[in-house]
């Protein structure tokens, strides 16, 4: 919302200057976005008089002017065709910054074609006072030499733009702004309530209410014999200052009242009306050609203005072309009504029409302002366009006035800590237009008709607090909480932190990517197009490739990796800890840690290793280890994830049902579909699926017991079928004698000559850690026997001879 200081001062008697007003606005909650005072940038420019203008001896288009300026007589070389003796112009001394041209004059006189020039005479464009650049400004009124240019150009006003919050539609009129600033202490509100117009005849146009729920009150009056023409200078100046191009008075006056009083009006060409004007609900199939030149389909939810010809306007949104006023209009019918905010908002959304009327009605227009609006406009019209005003016609009643709201004065201190005297509270609330019935510490207050945001005690607290000023709030430390200090992050967040730091310390760079992705790509990670839940498709995506909530983070990481690769990066290692979505329920979100590597084996003089599925497994295990989840608790199994390579990836499981993680190579089909340069190695770990580790009471750790007996190491090799997972042998071996076997590790896997074609040899070392008693040879033999038995039985293989 834009307004000018002089406009404000019409409604606010104040001694406050520009900066004071800005401070009062800030204090009262009117957030200033911009305050522009042309006088500031024009401070160096003054009125000057051209005494003599003779042609330049060496340039046809230049003149040498002798100019009387604030600094005495100056010689100025000027290229303007209109420079002539006797004219009043605007003078810029040497060194002046020229705002419209964005340069500064030299500080020393410059020679132009051999003749020194001591300053400049300016065009309107150079002063940002207009678009004219054909010649220098010629002042038509008389001003003394040395008069500030801003005064001579009528640019002393300040234009202020501020944010109107949705709760304060009364700020959409300059009078409402003045009322609030007066309540904040900026001055005295000057109420300019119009005197009713008696009217000399009955309005020939009847009005009826067709849908009280949409438009409860509809008023109007007729003005006959008007002669439309340009608006008066003062109105044009104000409209232009706030960015509205004046058209003709009949159009400008409704804009002006809307800006001045937050009261939208509509003017019909009475000659084009056909019968009574009736606001009612729309009917399917009706259409309106609106003032913006577009045709809109009417729905049954819309409030339309009709006459016998059908729909002639969208109530509270926009008028129609068929009854629009023009330069030829002589008789007008002026409408002032009240439209339901929610319905107006819906109509606005459905049609996409953005208008000042919609903006005001959907936020709330003062229902008691219908007739005042008519009188204000009619007076201006008659003054400038002549005409005879009818008596107003009124259909319906304004919506029920606000009821009394209870205000407990002690709530101010309770909710804000402020100490405000009740007398001061009363003064503020009265200044806002509240009608107060004082019953001690409880007041019964009727809020003003233009406010729709006051219905309980806390709302008055806000008014008192903001008008007192938040600077008065005393900084108070929060009281300490009872009880001891516990971890304040959730276990899941602790996991996220630990996982992130583990991966970053292992060379991964953290990414934060969109929670959405392209639906087609989502299908690749969800297990096919049918597995992409329609409930997770965004109905109004910001871009078509971001229309599906992601089932996996890996797609986004793969694309980011590809971008980095295209940009010349070698090996890229990215990870992200973030959400994936299984459904639209509150419990369907999972927190995953996903990592992806595009392996590029860096050549190295010591030889290089390439990142592969085993490296991914190592990183995954490192994360699990850091999370206090011993990796050996989990089983490696076949995976069912369609985005992973069928033979070079696996699932990490906890029991037969719970899959905790996947790791390995991405499926070549995914790489091809997304146009990615493979291979890409990845893992994704579902942090929600990890079991909660038991929390032991207390913080003490179990006593350290050093194994003082030397461990015994034995090598074993088995011949098993090729399909047998090698890890299975370790699991069986460890499980054979849990108390004594502290570890088992594979050191060789062999298939080839000496071994049956469908078999392989797996060799591993087991470590037996005696505890308490020394083991005798017989004890060790017994352990070995158990291991051999368990592995042979479990795999169907045999000890390698």
């Amino acid at each position: 919302m834009k307004f000018t200081l002089s406009w404000l001062e019409e409604h606010l008697a104040t001694k406050a200057d520009r900066d004071d007003i800005l401070a009062y606005m800030m204090k009262a909650g009117l957030e200033v976005e911009e305050a522009v005072t042309p006088a500031e940038k024009l401070s160096a420019f003054t009125v000057a008089k051209v005494r003599e203008a003779v042609p330049h001896p060496d340039a046809d288009k230049l003149r040498i002017c002798t100019v009387d300026t604030i600094e005495g007589e100056k010689q100025i070389v000027c290229g303007a065709p209109n420079a002539r003796a006797g004219m009043s112009a605007i003078y810029a001394p040497l060194g002046t910054y020229i705002p419209g041209a964005d340069f500064s004059l030299d500080k020393k006189p410059r020679k132009i074609r051999g003749v020194e020039s001591h300053g400049m005479l300016c065009s309107a464009k150079e002063l940002e006072a207009g678009d004219d650049h054909d010649g220098i400004i010629e002042l038509t009124e008389y001003f003394e030499v040395g008069t500030p240019a801003a005064t001579a150009l009528g640019q002393t006003d300040t234009v202020i733009d501020f944010e109107v919050t949705p709760n304060r539609p009364d700020w959409l009129g300059v009078a409402g702004i003045a009322r609030d600033l007066a309540a904040a202490g900026a001055g005295r509100y000057v109420a300019k309530e119009p005197k009713p117009i008696e009217g000399s005849y009955d309005c020939p146009i009847a009005v009826e209410i067709g849908a009280p729920e949409a438009c409860p009150i509809f008023t109007g009056l007729m003005i006959t014999g008007v002669k439309n023409g340009p608006s008066p200078e003062w109105m044009q100046t104000r409209l232009k200052a706030v960015g509205i191009q004046p058209k003709s008075l009949l159009v400008d006056v409704t804009n002006y009242i809307s800006l001045d009083r937050a009261r939208p009006l509509h003017a019909f060409d009475a000659a084009k009306l056909n019968g009574p004007v009736v606001p009612r609900l729309g009917k399917a199939g009706e259409k309106l050609e609106a003032l913006d030149g577009k045709t809109y389909e009417i729905t049954e939810d819309m409030c339309v203005i009709t006459d016998r010809s059908g729909v002639i306007g969208l109530g509270g949104v926009m008028g129609g072309e068929s009854t629009a006023v023009s330069d030829e209009t002589t008789d007008i019918f002026l409408e002032s009504a009240w439209f339901d905010p929610l319905r107006t908002a819906r109509t606005g959304r459905t049609t996409g029409i953005v208008s000042d009327a919609r903006y005001r009605f959907e936020r709330g227009v003062d229902p008691s302002s219908c007739l005042d609006g008519l009188y204000l406009a009619a007076r201006i019209i008659v003054e400038h366009c002549g005409g005879e005003v009818s008596r107003p016609v009124i259909a319906g009643d304004p919506p029920a006035p606000h009821e009394k709201v209870t205000f407990h004065t002690e709530d101010v201190a309770r909710l804000t800590g402020l100490d405000v005297k009740p007398a001061d509270m009363k003064k503020m609330l009265k200044a806002l237009g509240c009608k107060i019935e004082d019953a001690g510490t409880t007041w019964y207050i009727v809020p003003p008709s233009w406010r729709f945001d006051i219905d309980q005690s806390a709302d008055f607290v806000e008014e008192v607090a903001r008008l007192t000023g938040y600077d008065a709030l005393e900084e108070t430390p929060l009281p300490p909480l009872p009880g001891g200090r516990k971890a304040l992050a959730t276990p899941l967040q602790q996991r996220v932190r630990t996982a992130r730091r583990t991966l970053a310390s292992r060379g991964f760079v953290e990414a934060v990517t969109w929670s959405f992705m392209a639906r087609d790509n989502a299908a690749l990670f969800a297990g096919g197009a049918n597995a992409v839940p329609p409930a997770l498709t965004v109905a109004n995506p910001v871009a078509s490739e971001l229309d599906q909530m992601r089932p996996s983070i890996l797609g986004n990481l793969a694309q980011a990796t590809q971008r980095a690769t295209d940009h010349g990066a070698r090996e890229v290692k990215l990870f992200e800890a973030g959400p994936v979505y299984l459904g639209d329920g509150a419990k369907d979100q999972r927190t995953m840690v996903a990592a992806l590597v595009r392996p590029v084996s860096a050549r190295h003089w010591q030889g290089a290793e390439s990142y592969d599925a085993y490296a991914a497994k190592a990183d995954l295990f490192a994360v699990l280890d850091a999370l206090g989840q011993p990796p050996e608790r989990f089983q490696i199994g076949e995976h069912k994830a369609s985005h992973f390579h069928p033979g070079q990836a696996a699932a990490l499981k906890l029991g037969p049902k719970v899959t905790v993680a996947h790791f390995g190579a991405l499926h070549p089909r995914v790489l091809k579909a997304m146009d990615l340069d493979g291979p890409m190695i990845a893992f994704e770990l579902n942090l929600n699926a990890l079991p909660q580790m038991k929390v032991k009471p207390g913080k003490t750790k179990p006593l350290f017991e050093k194994a003082d007996l030397t461990p015994i190491r034995r090598d074993l090799a088995f011949v098993v079928s090729r399909e047998t997972p090698a890890g299975e042998l370790l699991r069986l071996a460890r499980g054979a004698e849990k108390a004594l076997i502290s570890s088992a590790d594979i050191f060789d896997v062999y298939a080839g000559p000496g071994i049956d074609e469908d078999k392989k040899s797996v060799a591993f070392e087991i470590t037996i850690q005696p505890r308490g008693d020394t083991l005798k040879d017989a004890d060790i033999d017994a352990v070995m026997k158990k291991v051999i038995g368990a592995v042979e039985k479990g795999t169907g293989g045999s000890l390698r001879a």
Partner: protein, 357 residues
Amino acid sequence: MSDIETIEAEALSAIEGTGDIAALDEVRVAELGKKGRVSALMKQLGGMSADERQEMGPKLNALKTRVADAVAARKTELEDAALEAQLANETLDLSLPPKPEARGALHPVMQVFEEIAAIFGDMGFAVAEGPDIEDDWHNFTALNFPEGHPARETHDTFFFHPQDGAPAKVLRTHTSPVQIRVMEDTPPPIRILVPGRVYRNDWDATHTPMFHQVEGLVIDKGIHMGHLKGCLSDFAREFFEVDKAATRFRPHFFPFTEPSAEMDVQCDRSGGAVKVGEGTDWLEILGCGMVHPNVLRNCGIDPDEYQGFAFGMGVDRLAMLKYGMPDLRPYFEADPDWTRHYGFAPWLTPSVSGGLS
């Protein structure tokens, strides 16, 4: 007894002449071995008279000692020489580069989340979370956004297609719905901090369709706006790690707070970059206010008994301000170079005791 002198001279000369341990050992055996010359002389002692023995004994012993010492000394010399020769062969060119290790980094937004949690954690705020996909009740209605009210329009909401006749779900436009979820489930006192992803349908130089917020909520008896001001002013100084930074509270409007405010922090923009805690300019940091009685009622909390404040701030922008990132868009592009430049080493854990950054 020129024998002794001759043998000594010859032995020492032989020892000195040996070139390796094996040759030295031969000389040792030839002189000091059981059948060696020195040993042979020693054996003659047995056949001597007591007087002769008295005279010859010390001399022969001294000879034996001197020869043995010479052998030992030569052995050390030869071993040192052998080691030197071996070491000379083992020289490594340590100007060669080691195997490269990829340098990881943490994303600045995630780090700033932790910085904020550390500051508020010190004030007793526990961290809470909620889902990104929300229903209309939690995202709007319970937060006192009337249905159809223009205040909803300002949120540029992402919608899902309605399922089974239920109202369309939305991507949460702020972290405030978690306030509702916590208040619905937890009796006061409440002191929580909610970090999370939020979404608005807006994409230009200063907006991204996804960004990050931190929400705070304090509900207790007797919590008033002075507490809000104290708590958030302290936060601003601690977050920007400056001794002094004036804060300014201005009235504003949020449907879910009453009274509502925005907090600005003192800054200097004159040098191009924004310096917090200096200068005469102001920078908007966050929105806040006393929790609206309607919101408390919507969650089954009696506003006459309990009251409190809430605040919300944009984490991406705070990170930009603090660490001088000029542009929001690269945050979500997962460019490893950008993240290594603006990101953080994994061992930098924000804490109140160790410093935030």
